[in-house]
Point group: C3
Chain length 342, copies 3
Amino acid sequence: MSLRLDEIVARLGGDLAGDGTLTVSRVAPLDKAASGDITFLSNPKYRSSLIATGATAVIVTAEAASACPVAAIITAQPYLYFARVAQLLNPPLRPPAGVHPAAVVESPLPASVSVGAHARIGQNVTVGENTIVEAGTVIADDCSIGNDCWLYANVSIYSRTRIGARAIIHSGAVIGADGFGFARERGGAWVKIPQTGGVVIGDDVEIGANTTIDRGAIDATEIGHGVKLDNQIQVAHNVHIGDHTAIAGCVGIAGSARIGRRCTFGGAAMVLGHLEIADDVNVSSGTMVAKSITKAGSYTGWVPFLEHSEWLKNYSRLRHLDALADRIRALEARLAQLEKTS
Amino acid sequence: MSLRLDEIVARLGGDLAGDGTLTVSRVAPLDKAASGDITFLSNPKYRSSLIATGATAVIVTAEAASACPVAAIITAQPYLYFARVAQLLNPPLRPPAGVHPAAVVESPLPASVSVGAHARIGQNVTVGENTIVEAGTVIADDCSIGNDCWLYANVSIYSRTRIGARAIIHSGAVIGADGFGFARERGGAWVKIPQTGGVVIGDDVEIGANTTIDRGAIDATEIGHGVKLDNQIQVAHNVHIGDHTAIAGCVGIAGSARIGRRCTFGGAAMVLGHLEIADDVNVSSGTMVAKSITKAGSYTGWVPFLEHSEWLKNYSRLRHLDALADRIRALEARLAQLEKTS
Amino acid sequence: MSLRLDEIVARLGGDLAGDGTLTVSRVAPLDKAASGDITFLSNPKYRSSLIATGATAVIVTAEAASACPVAAIITAQPYLYFARVAQLLNPPLRPPAGVHPAAVVESPLPASVSVGAHARIGQNVTVGENTIVEAGTVIADDCSIGNDCWLYANVSIYSRTRIGARAIIHSGAVIGADGFGFARERGGAWVKIPQTGGVVIGDDVEIGANTTIDRGAIDATEIGHGVKLDNQIQVAHNVHIGDHTAIAGCVGIAGSARIGRRCTFGGAAMVLGHLEIADDVNVSSGTMVAKSITKAGSYTGWVPFLEHSEWLKNYSRLRHLDALADRIRALEARLAQLEKTS
């Protein structure tokens, strides 16, 4: 796939500076781009790489355009434009429509749907146009999947899961397993509380490899539109995640937490149960969110690592932080007394 | 499914206050319950919701019964009773018994067993009565699975795994993969130590989606009766988990750790290798257990998050905690000297 | 399988002390070994167990040999030798060569390859001699897998993944899913950046159950030779991991991080994106690596757990650590003033 610069601008907008008949066929980072590549500059600090670029064309802001030694596409948000060019140049390689003879499908499907070998689609399942269900993926009964979705190999969808349009679900993801709900007998044994709610997922959601989203206990677990979940994320029962929130790998969100819209979570952050997180909150990697966050902003809670012996010396003090604070208070009192008498 | 209140009491015990011919068909939270619903009150602080409830019936303690405006079932442990009512009202939708023609089964199975499409059961495998093996699940050779188990889709069971009765194993769980054991050559290369132990799982165990339990190096990894494991838990080789211990999502337990009975672990807690955890220990979410715990109780070790700039200011001090403590000691000495001379 | 001691020494080297015609059939820990077992002593502090051992033979260093009450194999690295003996005594039980009739294979394979039921191997896939692909495993188009690999059940390999010789890949592992890359629109919506790089994995790599390795955005994600990854590890796009690095379970490595050779990571450690970790670095369990490490050594960053009420008292002080440090500084100034005047 290769495109002329004037074709790109015709499709995606922006202003062209330079020869529109030049063609590009590949996106590349600014410092590695070669002839035939298109790249971008969004951070002014990489301007020296711009001057030296080997790319055929660069996507730049108006301010940076004058420094661009090659053809430029000028736009207010170069990285966003770059994403769209990358999509044009890399159309996904879709498997052919139709149901593989080694698949087991128990619901009628549109002819445009692709179902791979050893996939299993249960009864009373609705699948939208052009959706792809790859090999080994299992969709239980009574589910609905929207148009233009892509479920990669070995995904597991439990019954009564509803997924909107254009979802991308990666291998090993499990959607709709039972939430973790038990009552306890006096002797300590656990009695399972049936998890009868489902999972409702909006449009334009991406779900990473081996991510798990549990079904609700009574009401549904809800994932908003445009939510992006990386790999190995655990979303417990009755969690709500607001539209356009993006969550990096290894994050855990405990039961009934409500996450706002347009939030971001760094890798391995944790959110405890029943908390509320406001819209536009950014949680840093490795941060334990143990109380609700009511205000947009950035929040962090991890500890700096040290060379091991330094760590041992410093962090063992944490066990005695309260005593240290008491000693400071005692010092202050004694010193005040001394200052008074001297 | 709907049940009369007097039928419920006949099956589950408790005392009925009100019209036993009323029927309920759904469990619901106290504040959302409507006509036809049964709910519960266990925490006295929600008593105002009790007074306003729209439920047909409420499960309450004797103390709260007088405040219940509708029919009541009186029991010492309302939440536990609620769990049992929820089970009565929500019997699982079992797939039909029999082996799907697209399954591959190499061991004789009882007629009551259900095996889904593209499941594969190896040689010399014993499966108990009424057990369900869903689509895409693979059980390797020489395993035994008890009665009334439910293995959801795409579970992987390695050879020589023994699972008791009534297990529930969710999609993507992997049981019996090799433990992580290597010896090191001088140059740094690792030589694999064959992992020849198996996994032994008791009765009434639930294992969450994408949870992994490794086989032992020589002896078995052992999971006790009634253990409940949430999603994405990692249990390393030769771990022992005592009866009725419940572990929330994303927890990791390193090799040869021995966890007691009736323990609870919050999400993303970690236990280092070769430690012993006593019975009835509660470990908070996000806590690194780096030494053995010999006494029942609650243990915690995570750091509070802060607004990012506050965090930066405060947590950077951790690198110098030892120096701060030294400065306090020096102050104490100087002050004592001054107090002596003044 | 049982072997005479002289056969073992003939194959693996080392010096024999005692009767070479004795046979052993099982490896065992020093304190549990019985007749017919071979064990090892590498840590001198277990010498008392050596004296009391019930083993038929013990692998020891020259220094310890005189204390060995039974037959001994003398070698400089007993644990490494033990690993090799364990391999000899426990040859893997290979499934038979050939393609199961319920597999779907779209590329020509060597006759020595074993493909299990419901596995699916796509087009233009190269598989080396003696490689095993177990039931339910899916290999997408355009992949290459080396000789003598073992892919357990329900592994998912995306297109254009290259895997070297002798790989062991455990169930539920997902290799080559899309990296987590998006540009953001002003309104907050995310636009996917196509992930067009692949994954390149060296020889002698082991990948644990449910571990995920994402494909690169443009260039490949690269895993070196002899790398050992435990279960539930997340390796993001464009990460490089150097030869012979070993990573324990639940670790997360964010995008474009470069990990050196012969590093070790304890469980649940995290590495942030775009960092560089030098060769021969050891990162402790639960440590957040938030800046590059340029020097070999051991690095740690987790906090000690405490009994819950002690934790509450001490760790709440972290919110005010900066203020505590200010109070110490103020005390120092006041005290110096007082010392001057007294």
